[in-house]
């Protein structure tokens, strides 16, 4: 399916300049996002997926900053814009949902205050009109009796309801892109399923594009159209979600999928990836996964490029798993 591109990220680098050295949290990330598309951004903690999300929002705080690269939203370059230009963009054309719904809403402000201000920050409309739109947004994400709920405080909502409110806030100004940073991780499974279902419907109905940051492969499998796997600040593999999850090219993706319990038979040991993720302060010059990779050899001392191995699919590896039967790899 050919989609109109909404967001185009190329060679994005976000580094943190700490006293201990430069942490390359995001180091050359490229991807694009089409209208109505859901991109799953997968990786373990510290792989740079959240920083990627914050970079897209222009919310990287010192000592971090976007060092180079480009973020194009609807063809407009965002990197290098002054703060005020970022501000007018945030929440209007690109919005964000956070991980912990217990923490994202301000505990001392009523829901209507927090919704109305989000509209009036970008549009010169009356309080009443903004309130009406807030009411509609709450109804759209499945919150019962939105009129009463508007006057409530966050602590009067359950976790799932709060996340719905956060999603409603993100939707208020009909953004083109929503960055969702593990929004269902803190919720229980049934609530998670409801929210995933509704998000999927929203994207299909409105053409909203979404970047879904998570470490949960099951969620990605059910929700995303495409998936990008991050490791140590780089995308190591990306492609259509079914293809990647069924037959991953990169040994890291392979290891990740192998360590999910549902993919293993009962009674068998889970495969695990040996070693641990490298420190972002001291990345090896070559492939950053080489130290943990069963396929690594001398060639891996050189950084592999993200190469297209089949149409629409790429991996950053010298020895990808090209077919289930292949034992070696293209060097």
């Amino acid at each position: 399916m050919i989609r109109e591109t909404v967001l185009e990220v190329s060679d994005l680098k976000t580094h943190f300049f700490t006293k201990a050295g430069v942490a390359k949290a995001v180091d050359g990330v490229s991807f694009s996002l089409g209208r109505g598309e859901v991109l799953g951004l997968v990786g373990e903690s510290g792989s740079g997926k959240t920083v990627t999300g914050f970079s897209l929002m222009g919310l990287v705080d010192p000592p971090g900053r976007i060092v180079s690269g480009s973020i194009r939203l609807g063809g407009e370059e965002l990197v290098g814009r002054p703060e005020e230009a970022w501000r007018t963009l945030r929440g209007r054309r690109i919005a964000m949902i956070f991980q912990d719904p217990m923490m994202t809403l301000n505990p001392v402000l009523r829901i209507d205050t927090q919704m109305i201000e989000a509209i009036r920050a970008h549009e010169d409309i009356s309080r009443e009109a903004a309130r009406e739109r807030a009411r509609e947004a709450l109804a759209r994400v499945g919150i019962p009796s939105p009129d009463e709920r508007l006057a409530a405080y966050p602590h009067q909502f359950s976790g799932g309801m709060r996340q719905r409110v956060a999603i409603a806030i993100a939707l208020l100004n009909e953004p083109e892109v929503i960055v969702a940073d593990e929004p269902t991780t803190a919720l229980d499974v049934t609530i998670q399923a409801q929210i995933l279902y509704e998000v999927q419907k929203l994207c299909a109905d409105t053409g909203l594009a979404m970047i879904w940051i998570t470490h949960d492969l099951a969620v990605v499998g059910g929700l995303a159209d495409r998936v990008a796997v991050m490791y140590a600040g780089r995308i190591v593999e990306q492609g259509p979600v079914d293809a990647v999850l069924d037959a991953p090219f990169h040994p890291y993706t392979h290891g990740l999928i192998g360590s999910v319990p549902s993919h293993n038979r009962r009674g068998h040991r889970l495969t695990q990836i040996p070693g641990m993720a490298p420190s972002l302060l001291h990345l090896p010059p070559g492939c950053s996964f080489a130290a943990r990779c069963p396929r690594a050899d001398a060639a891996c001392n050189e950084m592999p490029a993200l190469t297209e191995l089949s149409p629409g699919r790429g991996a950053r590896c010298h020895h990808p798993h090209l077919a289930e039967t292949a034992t070696g790899g293209a060097a």
Binding site: M57, L59, R87, T88, L89, R90, G91, R92, A95, M96, F98, Q99, D100, M103, T104, L105, N106, P107, V108, L109, R110, E117, A118, A121, H122, Y153, H155, Q156, A166, I169
Partner: protein, 325 residues
Amino acid sequence: MSVFILRRLLQSALVMVAMAVLVFFGVHLVGDPVYMFITPDMDQADIENVTRALGLDRPIWEQFWIFMTNAVRGNLGQSFIFGEPALGLILQRMPATLELAFAALLMAVVIGIPLGLYAGLYPDGIPAKTIMAGSILGFSLPTFWVGIMMIMIFAVILGWLPSTGRGDTVEVFGLHLSFLTLDGLRHLALPALNLALLKISLVIRLTRAGTREAMFQDYIKFARAKGLSRPRIVGVHLLKNILIPVVTVLGLEFGSLIAFSVVTETIFAWPGMGKLLIEAIQQLDRPIIVAYLVMIVFLFVVINLVVDILYSILDPRVRLGDRGQ
């Protein structure tokens, strides 16, 4: 809510009785007030007359019993020195002290919160570090010394502000108030600042700590992600959250403002309750001392109650008595 208030008042009544016992017998141990009235030309009969007139000839427990039975009826005794009801004397001086304390509280808020906010938002700059160093001074310099230095600089050397008294007052509902006249304000400035110094430092540190903590909270990041302007984020989202601890602490500290005003009032000759107390202690004027302390305990109780109620207004998660939903 009403049960809550009732229980509070009952607790405070107990505290007042315990305090009255302590002070009553304590002052009795310190010395005999009769000697304050003795002049060299008095003979033994005169001294006994004075003692009897003051009721000091009776045993101490009997004196205490008389005091308590009168106190229940609202009579806290007559001042030995002035021969007037002690409570009346204190109430007469109270507006001056309260005015001073409120002025100091206002200064603590108006000066402390913006400085603390600034130091919290830009913690690495020179101004922030200067503010924090200043707050350490405010904490550690003794009030009386700062007061004397202020008199020296602003009253003696520069001659900008008067150093003693209340200046012109205006009578409002029977209360004499200084802050409504320019002269009164000029008289109020130095003592209020002196009294406020410690509280300003406290508010600066509280506000700064709250700001530093809140700025990393998700709700601030979410507010930024909504595209809100910085003034809105700082002025509403941040400030409303950090006001909770500031109001709590300031409320509790208001009592100590009144207590500390004893020192400030003495230095600046401010005619308030504190000055009255110091004089009463020097003259062993027991009714005044006891009445003053009963008053203070009562004030503390009321203040704590007001703070609890304020707190529940600021923080929607706290609703006294009702359990929310």
